[in-house]
């Protein structure tokens, strides 16, 4: 200890939980409202369709490209710049001529001096399957976590952590819906990673809550929970900061393809940090956790204490 004496903060997290609940409720209502009205701007991974990224030697006029395409009957083509004016992204919805050959036709239309950087074609059936698999992946991840936490802790902790996770997922999805950022496979992966991350945070807090229940004579659950939140606070902040640092590097330097992915993780990590402090612990408090509920784990605790 060269720096300073240890000072554990004494912030009254639990006392302010009413505000947190109101804040979370507002975010969730807003998210669900946006999700039901705006929906998600699904990428071709889920809707099916064709996406072509081409590079030009010089800047190119979008209107010209659109004219070329609509001249050949591709009226619905969505053309936009991607990163710079030298690169464009062309999107085509699944349509009557939709097939793997579509991209070949478009490339022929654009001429020879373009650099084909990326072509993605997803058939409608594959898109549907990816959507189903994505939903299933999320569901199974949640169920697996539910079982593990119930086994390691107690069912109320399990429900508390799942509530926090659903909270995080809905708000992250809501963010993507509200700002109409494109939601593709990589964003889905990011959201699943957020589940893992947010859970990580929550488990650390829960671990401390359980420990404090067993080691102190306090019986007031809200005091114990508040103590645990304060004890783990500097860790929570440190970890969030380091993770945010690398995510910012990814967001700014990882390139356009990684952009949405990094964005989803940034939002998710922020929300996840908040939810493990406020949502998860508020939930277990509301469900009436007591010292007695922790006793089955007594034996385990002794084992830890008697270690050299």
């Amino acid at each position: 200890m060269s720096l300073k004496a240890l000072n554990i903060p004494t912030i009254d997290f639990v006392g302010k939980r009413t505000y947190a609940i109101i804040f979370s409720a507002m975010l969730i209502v807003l998210s669900i409202f946006s999700l039901t009205t705006n929906g998600l701007k699904l990428g071709i991974d889920f809707t099916g369709g064709t996406l072509i990224e081409v590079g030009y030697k010089q800047g190119v006029d979008l209107a010209e490209v659109r004219a070329t395409l609509s001249g050949a009957g591709f009226n619905k083509a969505n053309v936009q710049y991607f990163g710079s004016t030298n690169e464009i992204l062309i999107r085509l919805e699944p349509q009557a001529i939709s097939s793997a050959k579509l991209s070949t036709k478009i490339i022929q239309l654009l001429g020879n001096d373009v650099d084909i950087r990326r072509v993605e074609f997803v058939g409608p059936k594959v898109g549907e399957e990816l959507t189903n698999d994505g939903g299933l992946a999320m569901l199974y991840a949640l169920i697996g976590i539910l079982i593990y936490v119930a086994f390691r802790f107690e069912y109320r902790f399990s429900l508390g952590s799942i509530a926090a996770l659903i909270h995080d997922v809905i708000i992250t999805l809501g963010f993507f819906s509200l700002f109409q950022f494109e939601f593709d496979l990589t964003v889905l992966a990011a959201i699943l990673a957020v589940i893992g991350y947010s859970l990580n945070d929550t488990i650390v807090v829960f671990d401390r809550i359980r420990e404090n229940f067993l080691s102190t004579r306090h019986v007031d659950p809200s005091k114990i929970i508040n103590g645990a939140l304060n004890q783990t606070l500097s860790r929570t902040i440190m970890t969030s900061l380091t993770t945010l640092l690398v995510l910012l590097a990814l967001f700014f330097l990882g390139g356009e393809i990684i952009h949405s992915f990094a964005m989803a993780l940034l939002i998710g990590v922020l929300i996840g940090t908040y939810s493990s402090i406020y949502v998860a612990s508020s939930m277990i408090l509301a469900m009436g956790i007591t010292k007695e509920d922790m006793l089955p784990s007594e034996k385990e605790k002794q084992e830890i204490d008697t270690r050299p």
Binding site: S98, A100, P124, L185, L192, D207, F261
Partner: protein, 617 residues
């Protein structure tokens, strides 16, 4: 206290050195190379190596080295120009039985590759290339099986004139027998002769009718055979394209994944992969004039109008003698009698029998080979997915039957040796029985691949350095220890990826970046706990030990739950998600080792066993 046994320290050092060793191959760059492999299953011999060397030398192509690596010859070059030149001359000189393909060969020192050292395998998004997901039209396979059974059934029952009619119904055949006795005889014939058919329990109004279906197992086998056949055919075609390290794999029951690293001309790749052809052998209708049929717009009964590829019309009999499904082999050659090009065909037993019957009866008549291409496309029409099937039929050859034959025969009358070779190839490839549809395509151009590597590596480095500074600033000596652990963690991830030869993709790099962020979490947990213990405990050594011990369970809990999420991602994810899940899972496991055990070993070396007044944390 706080000292590890010598054995434990040695073990830790051993693991770290091992990781460093297997991460090492990634440090070396790679050479531009051309690889030559045998087109079929044939092995590559020393003589092939010598021929490659001789070819390059006689064409004055400068090379770095030529060596035999596994089942291929690898020639390395200094620059792009000699690489491309070498590919051209080797393709010509080595002939059709060899595949010459451009490749990048990692230049790992021999001692390292002898120890099993390999560089990480990069995904298509990093090296450029095409990924196709193809779906076999299983409905067509079922229909073809039914057609085949229909013909077999007719042939079987015709011998004793047992039936009045046989009609194809949805998934089954309805047989109308002449009499009850004929029905008895017919059913026992079916049971003994046609094992693939089952008599469906149908209580038809008229007891002379019996419904017959294809047995479930037989149908499943037909489907799995169609898939396997298609994979083989695709592999042959990819060999024709000349691709280094292609991946052609079954996915599920009706899909095939084809990955072609480095292929630029995707239009050609699609054309060659997507060409779904089969053959039919039919007799030529010599009695009627095709021109009359064209003018009247109607072909005579029992005949159908077909066209050669150059547009010449010809009337063919409707009855099919044999199809591409009956072909088990095709090879081009030269007729020994008059030195003209020919193709040797081998048919299966059913095809052979039919061919024998036909050639006996129609000696000196002409027989035509019809090339049929079935296409299938799924399109969205009025919000519904519809499968569009289309069919083109061309006569590729019509030759006179010179003698009776059965399962082995030759097609002669072919113009050139080149045409014979092409025909043999088409026939071999033509045994692809079911139509294929490309249902997913992902192409990454080489420029984007290079960009992705550069950006990915840049973000890992920058994120990494930021974290290093942050940790050193916050935790002083302990922070430096965590930084060493973090660096070792990166080395271990690279080593494990290289050893497993798991494919590294851009989302995989993102997974590594995320692991860097999360790996420090374990150290943060430990260090924060040590600080806490120092506040309540005057003994510094005890505080360090308690900090580690108490944090370990928390770290394990937190990491196992993240690992659950990663494993779910791995099992459900495709492509990008899988790549992310792999590096995340590996990162979680290695980070537990480096952050807990390696950092403890270092802290023990620095502070262990001493009487401490203060520590720098």
């Amino acid at each position: 206290m706080n000292q590890f046994s010598a054995l434990k320290n040695t073990l830790i050092a051993f693991f770290l050195l091992l990781s460093a060793l297997y991460a090492l191959p990634n440090v070396f760059g790679s050479d531009l190379a051309v690889q030559i492999s045998a087109a079929g299953d044939a092995a590559i011999a020393q003589s092939d190596l010598d021929k490659v060397k001789a070819t390059l030398e006689s064409n004055k192509v400068r090379y770095k080295s030529v060596e035999l690596v596994g089942r291929r010859v690898l020639a390395r070059f200094e620059d792009n120009k000699s690489q491309l030149g070498a590919k051209e001359v080797l393709k010509q000189e080595m002939g059709r039985n060899y595949v010459a393909a451009l490749n990048l060969a990692p230049s790992i020192p021999a001692w390292l590759s002898d120890l099993g050292g390999k560089a990480m395998s990069l995904g298509l998004d990093l090296r450029g290339g095409v990924h196709f997901l193809l779906e076999v039209d299983m409905q067509a396979v079922a229909n073809m099986s039914l057609d085949k059974s229909y013909n077999e059934l007719r042939t079987l029952l015709r011998q004793d004139r047992l039936y009045k009619s046989i009609n194809k119904e949805k998934g089954s055949l309805l047989v109308h027998f002449k009499t009850l006795a004929a029905k008895e005889a017919g059913l026992s014939l079916i049971k003994s002769e046609l094992g693939d058919l089952v008599i469906l329990d149908v209580t038809h109004e008229n007891e002379l009718y019996v419904s017959v279906g294809i047995e479930k197992g037989a149908l499943a086998e037909a489907k799995s055979n169609a898939l396997k056949q298609n994979i083989t055919t695709l592999r042959n075609r990819v060999n024709e394209l000349g691709v280094a390290e292609p991946i052609i794999q079954q996915q599920g029951l009706e899909r095939i994944v084809v990955q072609l690293p480095g292929v630029q001309d995707t239009a050609r790749a699609k054309e060659i992969l997507g060409a779904v052809a089969t053959l039919e052998f039919r007799l030529v209708d010599e009695k009627n004039d095709p021109q009359t049929a064209i003018q009247s717009g109607r072909a005579p009964i029992g005949s159908k109008l077909y066209y050669f590829r150059d547009g010449r019309p010809l009337l063919l009999k409707t009855r099919v003698i044999a199809t591409g499904e009956n072909i088990t082999g095709a090879a081009s050659g030269v007729d020994s009698e008059n030195a003209t090009p020919m193709v040797n065909i081998t048919l299966d037993s059913a095809g052979g029998r039919a061919m024998l019957d036909t050639t006996k009866r129609y000696l000196h008549h002409r027989m035509a080979v019809v090339f049929i291409e079935n296409k299938v496309e799924t399109v969205l029409e009025n919000g519904k997915m519809v499968k569009n099937r289309s069919k083109t039929q061309d006569i590729i050859n019509a030759a006179t039957i010179q003698g009776t034959f059965s399962s082995r025969f030759q097609i002669t009358g072919i113009d050139s040796a080149r045409e014979a070779r092409n025909l043999a190839l088409l026939l071999r490839a033509g045994s692809l029985s079911a139509p294929i549809e490309i249902i997913e395509e992902r192409t990454i151009g080489p420029s984007l691949g290079a960009d992705n590597i550069a950006k990915g590596v840049m973000s890992v480095i920058v994120g990494f350095i930021l974290v290093l500074f942050f940790m050193a600033f916050r935790y002083r000596v302990f922070g430096l220890v965590a930084n060493v652990a973090l660096t070792l963690n990166l080395v271990m991830i690279v080593a494990v990826l290289s050893l497993l030869q798991a494919t590294l993709t851009l989302p995989g790099i993102a997974g590594i970046v995320l692991t860097v962020g999360m790996a420090v979490d374990a150290n943060v947990l430990i260090f924060e706990r040590i600080k806490e213990e120092l506040g309540s405990n005057s003994n510094i050594q005890k505080s360090i030990a308690a900090g580690y011990d108490k944090a370990v369970l928390t770290i394990a809990d937190a990491n196992i739950t993240t690992l659950i999420a990663a494993l779910v991602l791995f099992s459900f994810g495709t492509g990008p998600i899988k790549g992310f899940a792999i590096t995340l899972s590996i990162g979680i496991v290695t980070s537990m080792f480096t952050a807990i055990i390696v950092s403890r070993a270092m802290i023990n070396k620095i502070y262990g066993g001493k009487k401490l007044e203060e520590i720098s944390i």
